[in-house]
Subunit: 351 residues, 2 copies
């Protein structure tokens, strides 16, 4: 018995999102059926809705920052019960037996993870639809618990923006003595500031916008460096153990490399494409510096991040919207006019 | 009393090297005076003699793979005595108090290390001349001991080619379970194969030349992958923890990134310049992969590498030449016609 679900979809790269009815699979033994309460709006929703990466399939229901309540669980599900507050992020499945999956790094699954939307199910090859909808059916291994005390709507962006910045902070072992910089103050950037601060690091924001200083400091930055100002850039030469580059479009990475400390790493988490202007090796070689990439995080580390956020009272700064306003929200995102994440109140779907 | 020294120098980017007489400084209290027996010929000697990097000063006496015998020592020198077999590599001084120097990583000195030639002395601002000469005067902190049993002439290239590949092998913790690849089989590449093998790693050579397979296996490669063959490249997808890229000219790094294992690193040790074609971030992000740079190594790790080579009987494969043949040797290097390092027998200077 498949279930009928309402949501919002786009039918091509050029269409707006509009009401859409579709079906979800009959729950399997390890499935959790979730009523979606809130869904964050990620920049990659926009990229995929408009086929910016050239791999979009339609109709597409975007959304992978999903917060909901458990409606029912399959007979094999032990960790969740009806009424639990849960989250679903960017992935809903993976091969579960390659080295990456066995390390709990399903995002790097050698057979490629199954993303929450714009993907097909590994078992029945049916298209997967995302969180801009009323319900979702997900294998329990890919469902996480939302700690008590966190505001549910403001927790939604933790499922992508949060874990995308948490994973490199943990992998590169950021702690009390670390010097961390964040490039760009958007959805990812503002989470990076909060998480790095809470981990005890000395935190700097690189921005091109002088107007962002006050907010950056409120969000956790100890220092704000205007990346267009050569003097300010020179003042942080050789400073950072880790730079998290959240910029989602083509940009010059070269000016940041000299601000890395000996053996430091600049990790790209927001940009898919060629590094142009070309990365120059001299600054990398003279200081054993690295440029790396990282994508979201594994399920276990997503739960770890949520527990950390529960303990430290960390959520995203959000603007709640109705699903009917999603197209305007996309236009505002293109102008970076959001502080710092739109979250859809899914109750609006019934309006 | 400065000392008169004979050697070979070039007087401009367009001149050949020719006999040259110059003076070395009066030895200071911590100086070691060394009779040069052998000097390796590094690709960077050629780059600097011909001003390929745009920073050459003339007259220039190249040479930074120096093996010699101690003639005398200053009153403060405790570690060396007359008659000792010693080596001098790419550096002869550094600030000695920045974080990098205090970590024993003088090559990353924040005030820039003083290179063995094409540099000026930190104390008297006099030009430094390299190892294509009969004697050199060097502070004892930058002199290393050559373990007994190593063939002195074949040990010369360890001072640059050896340490340049050793340092990343150690920094990225290569050991018995590691899978290491080396790009390019030249002076650096052949040392990387030998050292990685002796460290217990599973070693692969990437090459564009099918004819190099036999030699590569003799030097330590367990596998040889023809980088021009897509099938062979696909067969090593996601394999390597570390790739040491020794190629000294512009080349496309992108095809190698997918051959890195999860969280693996490709480290550039031979190329100074822009990464063109542009490095693409998708392969880096989908597997948390890094592209890094590394240059030579610190004095303590140079001594560690020499001791390791002494224990394992590792030296370079060399072709001994007379100083009078240096210009032809440069021409042959440009054609990669050397297996795998020229070493000048400095006795020829007196011929």
């Amino acid at each position: 018995m498949v279930m009928n679900v309402s949501g919002y979809a786009t039918k091509s790269a050029k269409d707006n999102l509009a009401p859409f009815s579709f079906t979800r699979r009959d729950p399997r033994k390890d499935d959790v059926v979730i009523e979606i309460l809130y869904c964050g709006v990620c920049h990659s929703d926009l990229h995929q809705a408009r086929n910016d990466w050239g791999n979009s399939a339609y109709p597409m229901v975007p959304g992978h920052e999903i917060i909901g309540r458990v409606i029912s669980v399959g007979p094999k599900v032990k960790r969740f019960k009806k009424g639990d507050s849960v989250g679903v992020g960017c992935m809903v499945d993976s091969c579960q037996h390659c080295d990456a999956c066995e390390e709990g790094l399903e995002q790097y699954c050698e057979a490629f993870p199954t993303f929450t939307y714009n993907a097909v199910d590994r078992q029945d090859s049916m298209p997967m639809f995302g969180g801009y909808s009323e319900k979702i059916v997900v294998s329990d291994k890919f469902v996480v618990k939302i700690p008590k005390g966190l505001d549910l709507k403001a927790a939604a962006p933790l499922l992508c923006a949060g874990i995308t910045t948490w994973s490199p902070l943990r992998h590169w072992k950021v702690g009390k003595k670390s010097k961390v910089a964040v490039i760009g103050l958007g959805g990812l950037g503002h989470m990076a500031l909060k998480l790095a601060k809470a981990l005890g690091a000395d935190v700097t924001l690189f921005t091109r916008s002088p107007g962002k200083e006050k907010d950056a400091r409120r969000l956790g930055a100890h220092q704000v460096v205007l990346s267009t100002d050569e003097k300010q850039m020179a003042s942080v030469k050789r400073k950072f153990d880790l730079i998290i580059d959240t910029v989602p479009y083509k940009h010059d990475v070269n000016p940041y490399v000299p601000t890395l400390a000996l053996s430091g790493t600049l990790v790209l988490v927001g940009y898919l494409g060629p590094l142009e202007p070309a990365l120059h090796t001299v600054s990398m070689i003279m200081g054993r510096k690295a440029v790396a990439g990282s994508v979201i995080g594994g399920i276990a580390e997503t739960q770890e991040m949520l527990n950390f956020c529960g303990k430290h009272g960390i959520t995203s700064d959000i603007e709640v919207i109705k699903i009917q306003d999603i197209n305007q929200a996309y236009e505002r995102m293109l102008k970076s006019d959001v502080k710092y994440r739109f979250v859809i109140d899914m109750a609006s779907l019934k309006a």
